[in-house]
Amino acid sequence: MAYPADYRYTKEHEWIKVDGTIGTVGITDYAQNSLGDIVFVDLPKVGDAVEAGKSFGSVESVKAVSDLFAPVSGTVTAVNEDLKDAPEKINADANTTWLLKVELSDAKQVDALLSAAEYEKFTSEETGH
């Protein structure tokens, strides 16, 4: 699956799509594939603050639990409630299955994130393929 060129990426395998001052956050196809069947997602509440580089929740597959790291700082404005009952949607389409929407506190933080090409290169180095 290709990584959308208009998203930015973290080395912890989250993506963010920025639209004005709102960032939509998800995990990458590489992340869902590494985790395997996702069965549980633990997310913050609307109004909670998240901080760039800090854990804001977790995602669990049958095998493993993995922390979620915020690509940017800001305030949570929406949480994808569908994932409570259907976390497997992330496996089906990681690029469009979002976790959170965040009001960015500092839009410049996005510039420090990886581009799609940089992220793809990063993951290929990580797997050695």
């Binding site: 912890e12 590489y30 395997g36 069947d37 549980f40 049958v62 095998k63 993995s66 797997t127």
Partner: protein, 380 residues
């Protein structure tokens, strides 16, 4: 995210190239480069519960004890009573340390009079072989052979396993009872050991074929083709773990180890204390005489939202740390979050509510009967 690339020093089964070509996700399991996830753990798990799946379990070890002293050696080495085995029969057993804890759990097969095959775990192979040589090597009339690398071992498991394997062998599989085995032709190979054993809580077979790569790959492919009409899936160690956990079967290094004794593990029924002697017997008798084990292995089901996993601590409601989870996972078939844990005997009664600490939060669980899953008995 962990890196799943295998360093070159990992050991490989004869099917390693087949797994890699199939893009199975590989992990280091006890020093072996093994598939953990072939096409999705939940799908693989459900295939075994409802149809059929095939596992490469060639990393398991095989020790043969042979000679006129072999029965005496097995009887000294293992806790179950091998004198009760008929030729062609197998049973669950364990090798114990003198203090009653586990060297390993094993399946003992009686190949013929004076000839036993002990199937051991992958992660403990070297330790086990050394232990066997040290423990019975001095006994008269027994020869120890490590045949671990001679076999590719495939486990074909699930309610359609017999139909799948039957297509590949003229041996009438319906004549092989659970925990019995025979030799037959499989995929044109003569004298293949076909055992009705497994580690999934489901009906199924384990076959032992020559471990050269072309033969292994050919048989693997033929099993997949034979099971295609039933929806067979190649399965990895991830599904193997969730299947055995639902069936509450012990895994070395988790429910059993060199710090856990047989009685604590709830496996006392396989320790035949009426045998005159075996390594660990005196310790087990002493524990019994002292009122029995102080802790026990219990099944837990999470009541609140959360997944208790290996190593997570378990508490009573008044905040006392009771023990920890040895294996915990979502149960793909039961669709609950289940775990096995050691707790003091007095806290282990059925329906006792406990708390599991999950990443800093106390989450409610309760003690439930094990196995979590038991297949319906068929009349065949």
């Amino acid at each position: 995210m962990s890196d799943t690339t295998a360093p070159t020093e990992l050991r490989k089964t004869a099917l390693n190239a087949v797994h890699r070509a199939a893009k199975s996700k590989m992990v280091d399991f006890g020093g072996w480069d093994m598939p953990v996830d072939c096409c999705g753990l939940i799908a693989e798990h459900m295939a075994v519960r409802t149809a059929v799946g095939v596992f490469d379990v060639s990393h398991m070890g095989d020790i043969q004890l042979r000679g006129p002293g072999s029965l005496a050696a097995v009887q000294h080495l293992c806790m179950n009573d091998a004198s009760k085995l008929a030729v062609g029969q197998a049973h669950y057993s364990a090798m114990l340390y003198p203090n009653g804890t586990f060297v390993d759990d094993v399946i003992v097969h009686k190949l013929s009079e004076n000839d036993y095959l002990i199937v051991i775990n992958a992660g403990t192979r070297e330790k086990d072989v050394q232990w066997v040589r040290k423990t019975i090597g001095h006994m008269p009339g027994v020869h120890v052979n490590d045949f671990s690398d001679y076999y590719t071992q495939l486990a074909i498991q699930g309610p359609r396993a017999a139909e799948t394997l039957q297509k590949l062998t003229p041996t009438d599989l319906s004549t092989i009872k659970n925990y019995w085995f025979t030799w037959g032709q499989v995929c044109g190979l003569h004298n293949v050991m076909i055992a009705r054993t497994g580690y999934t809580g489901e009906d199924g077979f384990e076959i032992y074929i020559p471990s050269d790569e072309p033969t292994s790959a050919r048989v693997w492919g033929e099993v997949l083709a034979a099971g295609a009409e039933f929806g067979i899936l190649a399965c990895g160690l991830g599904a193997r773990n969730t299947l055995r956990l639902e069936a509450a079967m012990a895994l070395y290094g988790h429910e059993i180890s060199d710090t856990i004794n047989v009685l604590e593990a709830g496996l006392g029924r396989y320790a035949k204390l009426d045998k005159p002697e075996f390594v660990g017997r005196d310790a087990l008798l002493a524990i019994q005489a002292d009122g029995g084990p102080k802790r026990k292995l219990v099944g837990l089901e999470m009541i609140e939202r959360g997944i208790g996993r290996d190593g997570y601590p378990v508490f009573s409601f008044d905040g006392k740390r009771l023990g920890e989870i040895t294996s915990g996972s979502p149960s793909p078939f039961l669709k609950k979050n289940i775990a096995l844990a050691y707790v003091p005997v007095e806290n282990g009664a059925l329906d006792t509510e406990l708390a599991v600490e999950i990443r800093g939060q106390m989450v409610k669980a309760k003690v439930v009967p094990t196995p979590f899953y038991k297949r319906a008995k068929k009349t065949t």
